[in-house]
Symmetry: C2
Amino acid sequence: MSTLKSDLQSFLRPDQVSDNVSILAQHSRDESYHEPVLPDVVVFPESTDDVVKIVSYASANQIPIVPFGTGTSLEGHVVPIQRGISMDMMRMNKVLEVRPDDFLVCVQPGVLKEQLNEELGRYGLFFAVDPGANASLGGMAATNASGTTTVRYGAMRDNVRSLEVVLPNGTVIHTASLAAKSSSGYNLTGLFVGSEGTLGVITELWVRVWGIPEKTIAARAEFPDVESCVRASTAIVGAGIPVVRMELVDGPFVEAFNKYTGSTFSPNPTLFLEFNGNARNVEADVEAAMEIIQEEGCTTFDHVSDDQARHTMWETRHNALYAFMHQYPGYGHMSTDVCVPVSKLPAAVVRAKELLDETGARGAIVGHVGDGNFHVTMAVRTDDPEDVARANRFNEALVHTSLELGGTCTGEHGVGLGKMKYQEIEHGEAISVMRAIHSILDPLNIMNPGKLVDSPATVESHHA
Amino acid sequence: MSTLKSDLQSFLRPDQVSDNVSILAQHSRDESYHEPVLPDVVVFPESTDDVVKIVSYASANQIPIVPFGTGTSLEGHVVPIQRGISMDMMRMNKVLEVRPDDFLVCVQPGVLKEQLNEELGRYGLFFAVDPGANASLGGMAATNASGTTTVRYGAMRDNVRSLEVVLPNGTVIHTASLAAKSSSGYNLTGLFVGSEGTLGVITELWVRVWGIPEKTIAARAEFPDVESCVRASTAIVGAGIPVVRMELVDGPFVEAFNKYTGSTFSPNPTLFLEFNGNARNVEADVEAAMEIIQEEGCTTFDHVSDDQARHTMWETRHNALYAFMHQYPGYGHMSTDVCVPVSKLPAAVVRAKELLDETGARGAIVGHVGDGNFHVTMAVRTDDPEDVARANRFNEALVHTSLELGGTCTGEHGVGLGKMKYQEIEHGEAISVMRAIHSILDPLNIMNPGKLVDSPATVESHHA
């Protein structure tokens, strides 16, 4: 038995520490194309106190530590590239407190998005951030996740009120009060949200929740081309219509979905929309959106309001990725994630289409177009360096386009391993501030080392 | 001529440097009860490059430097307690770029709120944060200002997209891209907003703007007591009605306003409301709010929509402070600023009323009740230590009540000098993170020293 494992078992129960090969393999990778690395050991804390002990031990022994949730990250965030400890947070999975009158709920980091919404449904409430995957709240906060509803409800950073965090030195902090606004002290909540485990471990979250609206209407609108579809979406945002979701699904995705499910939608670029509110307002919103959509050349427009029909309508969007990848069995998945100011979205999407043609990458576009964020999903032969290089060339060219347009390399997937190479060019001198903050809070560079910011300090790979 | 002045004039024009006594006096204080301190010199940068030179000089010579806007802060933020350089940002007052399609505008820090809204009106846009004072955008960002519209549009932190900042070492950084959302790097924008000049000098801001709504309705509702008024406000927020402003004005303020203007409003606790949107939705909102208000025992309800009538209706709120202080000529002004989770607001307001009775402080309540934030405005004889002590006792007791209820010591005024004593009790161990961040970014402790966080390093008072 390794020293590391026996050390950890000196203060944790035996079943909280594992070096079983299949457990290690589960914690070696995420859902992306990034190469897996086995951790030396996986630990399963069950309380903040457990996390304090584990982090203090790792700190005293300079052992890398990577918090792990559902493993659904897309840029290699949870790959323990310097081995060490993978800390699986999924046993800390309780909804601790619901405060309906404050529209707040306190959860442990291993609570899943769907689990939370099930619990909240009993109070007529819901949690609004929806990244697609049924991710853990801790992981969503760590990556500042967002998704289809962000155009209306914001990203994780907008929905986290306060965090409990275990710092690399074992200190437990609370980043903020529960007040809806505050000008007291530096904004630590916003700093820890999106820090990808590099500054500390999130052990508790107070997040904002919302009342379930009286009425929800889903709609789909087909367009002759992607450009007119994007123009319609920016016009809807510009008109101030409080659309809740607004998603572009490109023709190739619709085709893939038809093949996958036997449905017979026209393989046109399609905008999927959702509106909610009280009955009167939401119908006015749909009408106003429909006018804009028609001006932009929409060829087909449908809308539905009952639950089942809405679910069916949105299936094309929700299953787009799976249907697309289904055409390429055994291929890996690489997704771009640029986000540009909305006025630049048509130009960025046009450029993406050109780049697909130029590079011959197998990809199609899907996007949270209300925020200026879109993905080109690519099927990649991960065992073929040529093919990976092609996809990388595409990704890089698109990131550079985004940066030139005033955008970012990652709207929601985060930096992890995949976007580190763009940090200097995106942030310029600001990277020095990020490095300084990292170096003062994690001086031993043990917190998810090698991710998000390059830190001057490095820790030798730990082989137990 | 002092060395400091001649040094500064070696790289600035003579009219950009002043030690004229009345100029020094203007930069010695803000609008609060905090004791003035004269800076050694006032400089007037006209560009980011000027700021870089001034900050680099101050850094090389360990001279304290305090950025100064309109001097409308309320906790002594701009008082140069260690003397040194007061840097007046008001010559950097240009609106640099308006991007209507992105709902973004780029401004220099000395642009005033009203100046910006005049400029934006030509585009059918407005800037939504309204702290009352016609403050500078740089100062508003530095204190994370908010105010009457925050319940709908958020605080400064929610409305700043990106900042240009000159760091204490003279480096110029940009905190973020212009994308509506991003998961790239640490969130520096949120960190610098509210940092009160202690981490660097804001030299440019990209802020979010909004379309001027089709219709705006103002309303006023009188209640038999403050508690029912507060309950009505929390119920309106709870119902999800998108109220734009919702302000409590306590009876004594209404009385003071009547005396001041000759108006004849009943001296009851009054809720002032504003709704906006397209005509159909906004009327539905007013109806829904009216129902709630009546259930909570409202005795009188009026609403108006034309510009002049709205302005007149809101005068009671906007002039409440001046009317109240008008009764106490020569007195100083101290304002509490607690913000609690909205469900705790009725309890906090009841406690504030009790504390007013117990301490005998001369005060009345006004509040942004939709956010859980309210102020007790007190008239204080600043030359009478007993009277100042009484007001301080009241303020302290109310802050402790707020912290016990899960709230903050300052919802919007900021820390400055006045709220430093509560930072440890509010933030606990998190203060160590704030100090670490401050110490690594401002290791010489020259940036607005002695404010917001106590830093271990201290710089001797500089007497030129």
